[in-house]
Amino acid sequence: MLKFDHVTKQFGELAAIDDVTFEVKPGIITAVIGPNGAGKSTLVNMAAGSYGVTSGRILVGDTELQKLPKYRIAHAGLSRTYQNIRLFDGMSVVKNLEVALVPPRVGSLIANTFGLSGRAAAEERRARCHAVLERLGLAAYAERQAGSLAYGQQKLVELARAIVAEPRVLLLDEPAAGLNHGETEQLKQHILALRAPDLAMVLIEHDMKLIMSISDTIVVMNRGRVLAQGTASEIRTNTEVQEAYLGQPGAIKDIEAAARGRRNRVRIREGEGLTWHQP
Amino acid sequence: DILIGTAGPTTNAEALFGTTWQNGMELAVRQANAAGGVQGQKLVLVRDDDGGDPKQGTLIAQKHCDNAGMLAVVANFNSGVTIPSSDIYNRCGMPQVTNASNPKVTKAGYKNLFRPIANDLSQGAAPAEYALTKLGAKKAAIVHDKQAFGQGVAEVFRTNFTKGGGTVTSFSGIAQTDVDFSALLSTIRAEQPDVVYFGGVMPAVGLFVKQARELGIKATFFAADSAFSPDFIAGAGPASEGAVVSFQAPPYDSSPALKKFAADYKAAFGEEPGPYSAYGFVEASIIIEAMKKAPAPLTRAGIVSEIAKSDFDGIVGHVSFTPEGELQKPFLFLYGVKDGKFDLVK
């Protein structure tokens, strides 16, 4: 569905993306992982039209996205979430979602505003937004100002905004960053529930547990190139990937050992037990 | 009390003109009160700031109209404000004496509107004649500030100068707020005109003349009324020497009446009179004189018909009006700057 075809992105000297080719198929979840600065967000930004493409093509079906202005890319059925949240802070949560449902043509926009059908259309938009909020468990926040929500809730609102227009391609840039285990678990359920035969999903994440448990295929990027592609287990055991990204399996053990060693030496507040401040 | 209203610019770039103009009226009112007032009542001058803004001018006009005790106004200072405000004053029959010099001001034919000063037609014509005949000038460069007044007189000058056989080498507009004329002056210098006419007000006039001399332009400079002020000579310094300025009033030291006025003014306000102070005084006097003659009880209509019949010697000259409300015999004087002082040349 979404295809990167020999895509290159140059920032001055730096080739942030260097001749990348891969395809994202509908109906499955494609994860993109890689070290910081590998170029994952750049890929998303190019697909969504935030960055121009230095060379190569990005296709959804037959449509060449790199030729379209950004808003047309959205109309072509691609939507995304941002690594650094970009909600419309001063607007209510529903309004945030409604933005994605604004009629694409200015003519219909004006007709909608002053015509008779406007009210019905507005009601319908609202209904769709509420339905999505309901599904993501955000219904209670519908009228809250988006900017006043806690980080995790904002991330969910962004997800809601991205799906309300029923996209064909959904790009999620680190949706779980900043979420705790429980929330990540919820998010995982939401993402799994979104899986549909006509929806191509790209998931960028650093949360390996999530990635490994949810993705159907994984693309590993490094220094602007595709380092490897495969299933979770293939990736997990790929030594190149370990070296560049996951770290040696032993690394965690080392930290744990160092921490234990220190704790044994320092022994701060050893004697205290657990205190429950609330029943 | 009998109220006389006035409105003029007292806070914007023309604030100096407006304020000293109103001070002139104030002086006339004070002197009338000292002499016993009118019909046993005291006169009060209600001063307002119209900011040179037509919109404010109309609001003030309405305010003055609504005030039943207000029997006459001296308003406004600027033509652009007088035109819309005269419409309102006309509706409430308010006697209106204006200082606005644009010829259009009296075109509406309002019977309650009077202009006791020369309009721009004479102000532009006299210098042109003087340049052609007395100075024998052939080429003139004309500059104006793109304001109603400045452009108006400049155009009159142009018409008269060409009609008299002279050539106009250039006719350029500047912005009223400009301070740097070097670019334009460099061009004018290349045209080598005999005279340069500047239609505009202070402080631009002063800067213009000064910068022209610095660039080595030798032509004789002509400027319109607002340059008739010590500020012009001080501002332009030695560069002002030889410049010719037109003004509707004789110099403050030219007659005993004006000398007395200048002294009284200084005593009352602690500063030298401004260029339009004598006019403010005359304009207020016209109203006061009319009030004195009008039958009791005083009404606006009564005062209007008395002003129309005005026939007396004001401190700047004889006052009597045509049916259009213009001065019967508009007076205009040309002054040359000589040894740092204004000297009547005509």
Binding site: V99, H130, A139 | T10, T11, K55, C65
Partner: protein, 337 residues
């Protein structure tokens, strides 16, 4: 498997709120104005007219500044275009004497068109760059009016403009204009209210909050801004026509940069993005200098101080963005929405 994102939508959670009592309460304002207004002496009445005129201008500018978040420092240009339309099409200048209703429409449309013409090249500029270009546009229009002597009569302005007649009714006294302005206010108010509540309003808010994200959501920001500019300019133009009909004289002096600033002040002091804010802001900003007349020389000094104090006291404006019938009902109804 069915795409769950396309599941049939459930009915909206929020039931249609009972807004009309609140709306009715607000309708009281124009009705009151119409009843009380004509009994006022002419001077306050004329001030009231000015307040209404600036309120309408504020409503118009609010579309750009308050809703779309674009600072327009040259709004006076549209106002000037409207004013000169009436001055040129209904005066001795060219001896054309068109009816008021027609010119109202023409002038407003011309202004709207100018808005589009300006908008097309400049709307991709951001923030202060846009502000300075609009400022430049305002100055360009004013200088043009001042220079095209053959058309606009230059700095001399156009005097003795026709008296306006609307459907057989002569507009000349301040109370004639009161009726006209109240009528216009209601229409324009409903117009902007509708914009605010519609998809267009949502799109504009999104542009205000974050243009890039808005584009990402499929909003053609340039077009939407253009529409906002056009509407806003249209209203400004209509106000200009009325202003010229009221003054029966126009000259470039009435359309300076300061005038643009005053209109921006009206909406910022009143409350950005709220139509009631424009009303309150206009009341304050027109009334204040008149009230301060008594202080003569100190008038503007106090005016400046008052501005600073008001802004310091209510930096987000006197009226909150959210204020409206539903907000009012919520407050009156004890917090339950």
């Amino acid at each position: 498997m069915e795409n769950p994102a396309r599941r049939a939508s459930t009915p909206p959670v929020a039931a249609t709120r009972k807004l009309w009592p609140g709306a009715l309460a607000m309708l009281a304002v124009p009705v009151l104005l119409l009843i009380v207004g004509p009994h006022l002496p002419a001077y306050p009445l004329r001030i009231l007219d000015m307040i209404l005129l600036y309120a309408i201008l504020g409503l118009g500018l609010n579309i750009i500044v308050g809703y779309a978040g674009l600072l327009d420092l040259g709004y006076v240009a549209f106002y000037a275009i409207g004013a000169y339309s009436w001055a040129l099409l209904a005066s001795g200048q060219f001896d054309i004497h068109l009816p008021f209703a027609l010119v109202l429409l023409t002038g407003a449309s011309l202004a709207g068109f100018a808005g589009i013409l300006l908008g097309i090249p400049v709307l991709r500029l951001r923030g202060d760059y846009l502000a300075i270009v609009t400022l430049g546009f305002g100055e360009i229009i004013r200088v043009l009016m001042n220079n095209l002597d053959g058309v606009t009569n230059g700095p001399q302005g156009i005097a003795r403009i026709d008296e306006a007649h609307l459907f057989g009714w002569t507009l000349s006294t301040p109370d004639d204009f009161l009726y006209l302005l109240v009528g216009m206010l209601v229409v324009v108010f409903l117009f902007v209210w509708r914009i605010q509540a519609s998809a267009l309003g949502t799109a504009l808010s999104a542009v205000r909050e974050d243009q890039d994200a808005a584009r990402g959501c499929g909003i053609n920001t340039t077009r939407v801004k253009l529409v906002a500019f056009a509407f806003s300019a249209f209203i400004g133009g209509a106000c200009g026509v009325v202003f010229a009909a009221m003054q029966r004289f126009v000259s470039p002096e009435s359309f300076t940069f300061w005038e643009s600033l005053v209109i921006v002040l009206v909406i910022v002091v009143g409350g950005l993005g709220n139509p009631f804010g424009a009303l309150l802001g206009a009341t304050l900003l027109i009334l204040l200098p008149e009230l301060l007349r008594a202080y003569a020389d100190y008038r503007l000094l106090f005016y400046g101080m008052a501005l600073v104090i008001i802004i310091l006291a209510r930096p987000r404006g006197l009226i909150a963005r959210q204020f409206g019938p539903s907000w009012l009902m919520r407050r009156l109804g004890g917090g339950k929405c």
